[in-house]
Every structure is written in structure tokens, then in C-alpha cells.
């Protein structure tokens, strides 16, 4: 493995560490705060399940992160993760529960600004809706769970000592579930930006299952989170446990359970497939903030039990922390990228160029974009997506149309040279896929999508599935393969 890759990965691990340091509080803070579970027990359970969740269910949310800002060089990814980690670390030092999601989104927007990349507002809005929906949903779940639990206890009437024993068990199970969901939902924040540059190769474990490069990256991130949990999380655990609202052990369980359910809803690809399968609307898989969700759940319980016990000052501090995190991460990222580029001479972004080739114009016309705009753009070139966006700003185009313009015009010239295929590609691609590549030998494509379309014409193995949810895994794998080929066949 390239030593440079390892050095660059460290910032992702730093972010993982910061996430672990900050998020154990969300999951077990209430349990430790009410002295129902020892800190060491909480840390051990959390570490194990975060890693499991990251490896086996991670990835669902990484796509949304990828869409927000296509951080396309390793040095850039390094800085994005580092800036986010610094922001999270500062907040953790101040003993405030902070959102890694806010931090990474802030950092990516910082990268977008620095690289003059147009920020995909739709993805940003999707994420932000998740941020608002998450805590509200958590509060609703907490209220419902609270009433259900109170009702159940009234019927069952357990002895105080047994209630205590069951609550402990419940806290451990709900906490393990929460840690799993956290790993699944938030691992993309930690190492998501490194996926395109993953230095690992696929391998099999005892012939039972294969571990993909992304999963190995997730494992590494999960371990970093676990280290953070062990080394630095005690302070935030106590803020959540006692700072915001004093919870009884049973309501602590309600809070942890509501938090875990919400996180799971926003991370589970399995659930998404199930919903799509029975024809129900799906929940967007966005990385949501575990911290916001837990605060939502605590407030939900507080609303049922009496609002006068809420420590509003603490709530205010938490709110300020959330607002400051993305700003801090964004600024840190911008400054860091500047330093990295100008002092250390690193390529922090792949400066993409945009050209409205006849093929691009035809595609856009087909997609129904106004002819007048396309006629004006025909043949024009731009040096950044931001420049393109400001050029068409006066045309009153919808954001979706702008995203289409950018995608269609992006230059990514490839010349298909099958001889460059290595053993790794031969192992991953199907015979049909490789055959299609050979058929296109020698042809050049100015755009990535043009290349993908040509491949799809040559072989059914390259055709994406029609359903955005049910065929998600297949389509993602296809995109990954095309990315690999595009890197391999890149024309300089």
C-alpha cells in the first residue's frame, strides 16, 4: 500500500476518533448518567456494535455525501475529513454534543467553494431535511414509546428490583442497536470521502463472505470510532446524561430506543428495499445527526413529563454548537485546502472542465431543457461548475436543470484501451462487461456518461436497473466499475 495513502487516511481516522469521542454520549449517556450501566461496559458494547454496523450496513448514506460534493483527490479528501475532525474535536473539548454530519457537510461545502464546484443544493436540502426530520421523528417516537412503556408497566406491575434489572438489559440492547445504527448511518461521514481512493482489495473470509474495499475502509473507520469511545468520550457522556434533562432509568431507555430507531430508519438499505418492494414511499438515506436525534428524543420525553425541568441554557448551548460546527468546519477546510495547495503543493481538487459538446446539447435537449439556453451554450467551455452556474443564473433554470447541465457538460475524456485492464479488473468484471470494453477498444468519449451509455449498448451487464431503490446495489456497483475504468483510460 502506498505510504502517502496511509498518511492521507489518518485524517479520516482522526475524524472517526472524534466521532467516537462524541457519540458514545448519545447512545449511552443517559444510561451512564442514571448510573444504570458502567462507563466501561457502555464503551465496550458501543465499540463492538459501531464496528459491526459500519462494516455490514454502512454505505447506504455514503452516496448522499458523495453527491453533495465530489471530492475527487486524496489530498482534498484528507483536508475535508481533517477540517471536520477539528471542528468536532473543538466541540468535544467544550463538552458539547456535536454532529459529525454537520461538520462533514460544512467541510464539503468548504471544498466546493475552494474548488469552485457548484454545490448540489438538492442534496444539501435533502440532508438538511433529514436534520430537521430526525429530531422531530425522535421526539414523536419517544413520546409514543413513553406512553406505551408507562402503560405496560401499569399492567405488568413489576417489582422495583426487576424493573431495574429489565431496564438495564433494555438499555444494553437498545444501546447496542443504537451503536449499530450509528455505525451504519455515520460511517460515511468518517471515511465516505475516501471510498473512491480506497487502497484495499477485495478478499474472502474463510470462503464464506467477501469483504469489499469499502467495507475494509469502514472497518478501519469503525475501529477509529471505537478508540475514540474509549479514550475521550466520558465528558460528553455526562453532559447528555445529566446536563439537559434529568431522566429516570426507564425514560433513559425510551430515549435510547427512540434514537436508535430513527438512526436505523435513515440508514437501513434493507428497510428501504422493503418499503419500495411493497410500494411504500422510502425514507431518504441521509447521514443524520445522532446528537440532534438524541436531543429530540430527550425533549420528547420532557414534553410528556413536564417542560419546566428542561435546562434551556444547556439546550441553547447545544444549538449554538450545531450551528457553529458546519461554519467552523467549512472555514477550516477552506483555509486548510489553501495551505495544502500552496505550501505543500498538493492537488486538492481535480479541476474539471465543462464543455457543451454536440452530444451534451443533444442529451440536454432530449431531457427537455429550454432550446434558447442550449443554443446559447452550444460549444461553450467553462473552467468550473460555479462559473457555469453563474453564466446561466439569468436564465431562471430550476436547480435540477442546472445539475443536469453540469453533469452533461463535464469533460472526462477517456480513450478505451483494454490492454490497461489489470488482474484486479479482470477479477471484478463479468465476462460480458469485459467483452463490451474490448468492443469499444480505441474509441474516445469526451464525457463519462457517454462512455457509460456506449458500454450499456454493448452489453446487458452494463445496463443499470430501472428502479432507483431496488436496483440500488447493482447500479452502485456499475458506477464504481465505470469510475475505475474511467480512471484507467483517462486521456491526459
Amino acid at each position: 500500500m502506498d505510504i502517502v495513502v496511509i498518511i492521507f487516511l489518518t485524517s479520516g481516522l482522526f475524524l472517526g476518533w472524534a466521532l467516537g469521542a462524541n457519540h458514545l454520549g448519545n447512545i449511552f449517556g443517559t444510561a451512564v448518567g442514571t448510573r444504570m450501566i458502567r462507563f466501561s461496559t457502555a464503551a465496550a458494547i458501543c465499540s463492538v456494535f459501531v464496528i459491526l454496523g459500519a462494516v455490514f450496513s454502512g454505505g447506504g448514506t455514503s452516496e448522499t455525501i458523495g453527491k453533495l460534493g465530489p471530492v475527487n483527490t486524496l489530498a482534498g479528501a484528507f483536508m475535508v475529513a481533517l477540517a471536520a475532525a477539528i471542528a468536532v474535536w473543538i466541540m468535544t473539548r467544550a463538552a458539547l454534543p456535536v454532529s459529525t454530519t454537520h461538520a462533514i457537510v460544512g467541510a464539503i461545502v468548504g471544498w466546493n467553494v475552494f474548488s469552485a464546484t457548484w454545490t448540489d443544493i438538492d442534496s444539501l436540502i435533502k440532508i438538511m431535511i433529514g436534520w430537521i426530520l430526525g429530531p422531530i421523528l425522535a421526539a414523536v417516537f419517544a413520546i409514543a414509546l413513553f406512553y406505551l412503556t408507562a402503560r405496560l408497566l401499569r399492567i405488568v406491575k413489576p417489582h422495583m428490583l426487576f424493573l431495574d434489572a429489565y431496564t438495564r438489559l433494555g438499555l444494553i440492547l437498545a444501546g447496542a442497536f443504537g451503536a449499530y445504527s450509528l455505525g451504519a448511518n455515520n460511517i460515511a461521514n468518517v471515511v465516505g470521502v475516501f471510498i473512491p481512493a480506497s487502497p484495499f482489495v477485495e478478499f474472502q473470509v474463510a470462503g464464506l463472505f467477501t469483504v469489499s474495499p469499502a467495507q475494509q475502509l469502514f472497518l478501519l473507520g469503525g475501529i477509529a470510532i471505537a478508540v475514540g469511545v474509549y479514550t475521550y468520550s466520558a465528558k460528553v457522556v455526562h453532559t447528555i446524561g445529566q446536563g439537559l434533562y434529568t431522566l429516570s432509568p426507564v425514560s433513559a431507555w425510551v430515549v435510547v430506543m427512540a434514537h436508535s430507531l430513527v438512526l436505523f430508519l435513515f440508514a437501513s438499505e434493507g428497510l428501504e428495499r422493503l418499503l419500495a418492494h411493497v410500494g411504500l414511499p422510502t425514507i431518504p438515506l441521509v447521514p443524520i445527526s445522532s446528537s440532534e436525534v438524541i436531543v429530540g428524543a430527550v425533549l420528547g420525553v420532557a414534553m410528556v413529563k413536564g417542560r419546566h425541568h428542561i435546562r434551556w441554557g444547556m439546550l441553547g448551548r447545544i444549538g449554538v454548537g450545531w450551528a457553529m460546527t458546519p461554519a467552523l468546519a467549512g472555514i477550516a477546510c477552506f483555509v486548510g485546502l489553501f495551505v495544502l495547495q500552496n505550501v505543500f503543493n498538493q492537488v486538492v481538487y481535480d479541476s474539471a472542465r465543462y464543455q457543451f459538446t454536440p452530444a451534451a446539447i443533444e442529451r440536454l435537449a432530449h431531457a427537455g431543457l429550454p432550446r434558447a439556453v442550449l443554443d446559447r451554450l452550444n460549444g461553450q467551455s467553462f473552467y468550473s461548475s460555479a462559473q457555469l452556474e453563474s453564466d446561466v443564473a439569468s436564465s431562471a433554470l430550476a436547480r435540477r436543470d442546472i445539475a443536469q447541465l453540469i453533469e452533461a457538460a463535464r469533460l472526462d475524456p477517456v480513450k478505451v484501451q483494454p490492454l490497461r485492464l489489470g488482474p484486479k479488473e479482470y477479477a471484478r468484471l463479468t465476462a460480458g462487461q469485459i467483452h463490451a470494453v474490448y468492443k469499444l477498444a480505441g474509441q474516445s468519449f469526451p464525457h463519462r456518461w457517454l462512455f457509460a451509455e456506449a458500454l450499456a449498448r454493448e452489453s446487458a451487464d452494463w445496463r443499470p436497473g430501472p428502479d432507483p431503490v431496488l436496483d440500488k446495489a447493482r447500479n452502485r456497483a456499475l458506477r464504481d466499475h465505470i469510475d475505475t475504468l474511467a480512471r484507467l483510460f483517462r486521456e491526459n
Binding site: D164, P249, V250
Partner: protein
């Protein structure tokens, strides 16, 4: 269903044998046992006073005194064991202080009953015929208040919503005992008995009535603990 030999308590075999909850079950039994001792103490105390009023300080009376005395010793041992377990196993962290307070004050109710009986045994007061019925009635009311307190304490562990009902009855019997003790004292001091006898008798009325007062104090604490414990 399995009947445990000792107390006739009905237990589910599944939970009884489930290792994770075995210690919890043991502790639950100890708490039940402790509360049994208090209510048993009340019954023995009532019998003791009845015997003294009807027959004087007989051997049978002494036997009741020693019965209460041994109950008090067992209750002390149980209480210490429960307290140690609660803290060493960090059980019910939110409520263990309250449980501790409850057990200690309940224990003092038993102490007061024992103390009153010792008073009769050592000082052998001469209770004139006309006060004996009221003395027995006063003891009945006091013991009723202790009984309700034990029920309230059991409810605190198992059925928190029932605590106020029992507490309410503790208060009721305590008031009834107060009324009767005032009536008795008035009658004693309005009589032609020599003053030393009057003072002596009054101290016995008070030593019995104090038990109900203590029961009421415990019930007051219990009311607060209950508010703290609602989910």
C-alpha cells in the same frame, strides 16, 4: 407454579431459575421478609399489650416481648444485608437512597414497639380497670396504622400507584390513635389517682401512640419517594 416452603410465596419456575435474575429474586425475597417481620411485630405487639392489660406481666406476656425482640433482631440483620447488596451490586441506583431511608425508618417502628413492651416489662405500670379497654383500643389503632404502612411499602416496590391509598389509611389510623390517646390522658389526669401514677400512665399512653406517629412520618417520606419514582 412452585410454593416456596418458607413463606408460601408463589414463584414462576422460569424466572426463579433464570440465573441473570436469581440475585434479584433473592433480594426481593429479603425485602419481603423484612416487611413480614414488621407486620408480624405489630401482631405480637398487640397480643402482648392485650395480655398485659388482661393478666398483667405474666410469662405469656414475656414470651410476646421476646418474640418482638427476636423479630427486631432478624429485621436488623435483613436490613443490613439488603443495604449491602443494594450498594455492592449497584442496584436501583436512582432509588437506593430512598429504599435505604424507608427500611431504616420502618425498622425504627419495630424498635418503638419493642421499646414499649420493654417498658411494660420493666416498669410494670398499674393500669386501673377503667383504662384497659381504651389502652387495648389504642394499641389496635396503632397496629392498624403499622399494617397499612407495611402495605404501602410493599406497594412502593410492586405497584407504585397503590401507595397513596395505603398512605391515606396510615394517616387515618394515626389520627384515630391521637384522638384516643388524648381522651385517655384527659381521663387519667381528671381522675383521683396520685400524680406520680398519672405521669407514669401518661408515659405509657405516649409510648404506644408514638408508634403511630412514627408510622405517619414514614408514610410522609414514602409519599415523596413515590413522586420521585413515577417513570
Amino acid at each position: 407454579m412452585v410454593q416456596s416452603a418458607k413463606k408460601g410465596r408463589v414463584q414462576m419456575p422460569a424466572t426463579k431459575d433464570f440465573a441473570l435474575f436469581r440475585r434479584t429474586r433473592e433480594l426481593e425475597n429479603e425485602i419481603d421478609e423484612f416487611l413480614n417481620k414488621i407486620s408480624e411485630g405489630g401482631l405480637a405487639f398487640r397480643l402482648g399489650v392485650q395480655i398485659y392489660m388482661n393478666h398483667g406481666p405474666t410469662a405469656e406476656f414475656e414470651e410476646k416481648l421476646y418474640h418482638v425482640n427476636s423479630l427486631e433482631n432478624t429485621a436488623d440483620t435483613l436490613r443490613r444485608s439488603i443495604e449491602t447488596k443494594l450498594y455492592s451490586q449497584t442496584l436501583i441506583p436512582e432509588s437506593r437512597g430512598d429504599v435505604l431511608g424507608l427500611l431504616e425508618t420502618m425498622d425504627s417502628v419495630l424498635n418503638l414497639m419493642e421499646g414499649a413492651l420493654w417498658g411494660f416489662s420493666i416498669e410494670t405500670p398499674d393500669v386501673p380497670e377503667e383504662y384497659r379497654v381504651d389502652f387495648i383500643e389504642l394499641t389496635d389503632r396503632v397496629v392498624l396504622s403499622v399494617d397499612e404502612l407495611v402495605k404501602a411499602a410493599r406497594a412502593f416496590f410492586r405497584n407504585i400507584e397503590a401507595v397513596p391509598d395505603h398512605n391515606h389509611k396510615v394517616m387515618f389510623y394515626e389520627k384515630e390513635a391521637d384522638k384516643l390517646s388524648t381522651k385517655l390522658k384527659r381521663a387519667i389526669f381528671g381522675s383521683k389517682l396520685p400524680l406520680p401514677n398519672k405521669v407514669h400512665l401518661r408515659s405509657f399512653v405516649e409510648s404506644v401512640d408514638n408508634i403511630a406517629d412514627q408510622a405517619e412520618d414514614v408514610a410522609d417520606r414514602l409519599a415523596i419517594y413515590t413522586i420521585k419514582r413515577t417513570v
